[in-house]
Symmetry: C2
Subunit: 84 residues, 2 copies
Amino acid sequence: MDQFAVKVFVRLRPSVLDPAGEATKSASIKLGAEGIKSLRIGKMIEVKIEGDGENEVREKIDLLCDRLFANTVIEDYEYSLEKL
Amino acid sequence: MDQFAVKVFVRLRPSVLDPAGEATKSASIKLGAEGIKSLRIGKMIEVKIEGDGENEVREKIDLLCDRLFANTVIEDYEYSLEKL
């Protein structure tokens, strides 16, 4: 069995409004951070997982992303995978 | 003025319990994804920001991370910065 470190990045699709991001953007400007063009907030899920090779782990992560980590109606995901 | 794309990653410190991560881990196992050793959830904040050079932008991002993006009592942050 190999162990992998997977980083999953889940973000709202560009066409979807990000109210939390907008609120954080205006708070940032109030703090004096000028020049912000856009600010969007997403999720980062860090998983340590065992499996018989990279393909099997990719299958598991795809399943988890589609069914649990991301709402694929409004969110996109991508992930990086590193063998430990 | 230069424009930069900044990705900020905020995560709970390793010593801090992650209830959302634990709940997601058990839901993942119920979905049949065996072999998960650990699962932790953090934030990813993507900012497009203008500034007079990299140092000025780093100063702004450090301010925002310390005061707004991260609760530095229980969270750590790191960020990547790319000139557009």
